[in-house]
């Protein structure tokens, strides 16, 4: 299955992957509005670690035996048997953070999600940008520090 792999050697800590991910998961698909006017503000599903001189962008590995899925309390996280992707149903998510505790990559974050009148804190993770051929972060990375590959 194709997932996004970081290539640490080339990451220049520009955070553009985060901006792209945030934008892709916004309503307006516009970085400025996504950041400025959308409430709640969308949150990137990849995270750039920066410890100069090192930097690396880390997001979900879509594990074959996903520990987040195994830990999820109510089945908000499931494996799509057709695509192999690990999918999160944010409307269902309880915000129990079992998945955050379990994910060995630290790949699950949190986001505020409006549901009707209320706002809920729910889990947030890479969905490999289902509307795109090449994930947003990969397209945005100026130095090919992220690649979309099937490594078997």
């Amino acid at each position: 299955m194709k997932v996004v792999y970081p290539r640490e050697q080339w990451c220049v800590a520009c955070n553009l992957c985060e901006v792209a991910c945030m934008t892709e998961h916004s309503k307006t698909k516009d970085p400025l509005k996504a950041y400025r006017t959308e409430k709640p503000r969308p949150v990137s599903r990849t995270r750039v670690e920066y410890r100069p001189p090192l930097a690396i962008s880390i997001m979900c590995r879509h594990c074959a035996e996903a520990e987040c899925v195994e830990a999820c309390k109510n089945g908000s996280l499931t494996r799509n048997e057709v695509t192999g992707r690990i999918e999160l149903d944010q409307d269902k998510c309880l915000g129990c953070w079992m998945c955050i505790m379990a994910c060995p990559y630290g790949a699950i974050g949190q986001v505020t999600r409006p549901v009707g009148q209320e706002e809920r804190r729910v889990a947030n993770k890479c969905d490999l940008c289902p509307d795109r051929e090449v994930p947003a972060c990969v397209s945005a990375c100026p130095n090919r520090a992220l690649v979309f590959e099937d490594r078997g």
């Binding site: 970081p6 520990e67 379990a102 990559y105």
Partner: protein, 422 residues
């Protein structure tokens, strides 16, 4: 191949999914005492107080059984297992044959014989039905007052749920502090403070000696020390134990739970077990333990299912861990969060900043436990560090930093984790 799964919960689902993935031609039957489509047991307190509706309670989609070619026998109880005949017997006498059997019968609440405990107003809290019954009971009362016996995770979650429903709640815990299994004293006292701040009463170092009733109705409880607490509702939640009663005479070896090998097979051929009902290798203690938590149940279920369907998998050992919240504040506890023996090579690193409390426990330089209050970001990385058994003495000062991450860990570890398929 005929697969029979006893138990329609976390362990069962993972066994079903593993089998269905590996053996497309197999026939799977799941038998469950509870009449429900597979649901989220661990969310019953949130269902009780209305935080979540029914739709968010279902653990898998409506078409789960159909998609995985499963015959679901719901509301049916297995009373006997006949390994010789490769057959299980149900409460109505019906017999179901199997080629491979998995027991995922979970746990049952421990119910010691407390005086006055028989009768209305007395509840346990481990099933959806329990939650519905308790909800209906307190809703029928104008000023319900409840005593929850047991300050473990389930007891406290039930207590919080009751509180949200406007019930006046007192938790009575025998130990010095609540959540003894998951927290250290410091963290537990903080949790107790949160609970009290939100109007819950917490009594520790004490227990309920008897339940008082007048004309059958509960009027209060008497504590060990003699004090009395007025109430009309009592929830008994002092723990669960593996549900092994119905295995008597089957020849399946049970210690505290069903004993299994590292691919979840019992002492009996073709009989496997997974989840709260088992006693399996504990990753840290390196001896069989009952670890009644979801990630252990599901992993065991998956390993049992795969092995049953012909792809032997090896259980890496269970690691106790839990994530929970009370009144919006969160706690995550992984592994061994207390230095059991100060002389046993243990070392603690603590970081405290306002609401945030973090603690790492090292043993012989290896991380064995992490406790984190009000900080959840990327906590799972500690899970992989514990699993890796790497020596972290060199990065002690960074270990609990808020931005701790892979760049603080050795390059080889990082490459191993991040450049290969997960």
């Amino acid at each position: 191949m005929k697969y029979v799964i006893i138990g329609n919960s976390y362990a069962g689902v993972f066994a079903i999914e593993a089998i269905s993935r590996l053996d497309a031609g197999g026939a799977i039957t799941v038998i469950s005492r509870e009449p429900y489509h597979v649901y989220a047991r661990a969310a019953i307190h949130e269902y009780m107080d209305g935080a979540i509706g029914e739709s968010r309670m279902y653990y898998r989609d409506k078409d789960f059984y159909e998609r995985n070619r499963v015959t679901a026998m719901l509301g049916r109880t297995v009373t006997q297992i006949l390994p010789e005949q490769h057959r299980v017997v149900l409460d109505d006498g019906q017999k179901v044959d199997y080629d491979r059997l998995m027991i995922g019968a979970g746990g049952v609440p421990i119910t010691p014989p407390i005086e006055g405990s028989k009768g209305p107003g007395m509840f346990t809290f481990t099933t959806w039905d329990d939650a519905k019954a308790l909800r209906d009971w307190v809703k029928a009362r104008k000023t319900p007052k409840a005593v929850v016996i047991g300050g473990g995770l389930i007891g406290l979650q039930c207590a919080e749920g009751l509180k949200h429903m406007g019930v006046d709640v007192t938790v009575v815990e025998l130990a010095d502090y609540v959540l003894v299994k998951a927290l250290d004293r410091f963290a537990a006292l903080r949790v107790q403070q949160w609970l009290r701040d939100n109007g819950l009463n917490v009594v520790t170092g004490n227990t309920v000696a008897s339940v008082s009733r007048v004309k059958g109705a509960i009027t209060g409880v008497k504590l060990k020390g003699g004090e009395r607490l007025k109430c009309d509702t009592v929830v008994l939640s002092i723990g669960v134990r593996p549900n092994t009663g119905f295995l008597e005479g089957s020849g399946i070896k049970v210690d505290r739970g069903i004993m299994v090998d590292n691919s979840m097979q019992t002492n009996i051929r073709d009989v496997f077990a997974a989840g709260d009902v088992t006693e399996a290798e504990d990753f840290l203690r390196k001896r069989p333990e009952v670890i009644p938590i979801i990630p252990v149940a599901t992993m065991q279920g998956r390993i049992a299912g795969s092995t049953m369907a012909g792809r032997k998998e090896v259980y890496p050992g269970g690691l106790s861990q839990s994530a929970f919240q009370f009144f919006g504040k969160s706690v995550i506890s992984i592994g061994n969060v207390i230095s059991i023996d100060k002389n046993g090579g243990f070392e603690e690193i603590i970081s405290e900043d306002g609401e945030v409390y973090k603690k790492a426990v090292l043993r012989d330089g290896m991380l064995v436990g992490v406790l984190s209050m009000n900080f959840v970001t990327r906590i799972g990385i500690y899970n992989s560090i514990i699993r890796s058994r790497m020596n972290v003495s060199g990065i002690k000062d960074k270990l609990l930093a808020d931005n701790f991450g892979f760049l603080d860990l050795p390059k080889e570890f990082r490459d191993e984790m991040l450049t290969k398929p997960g």
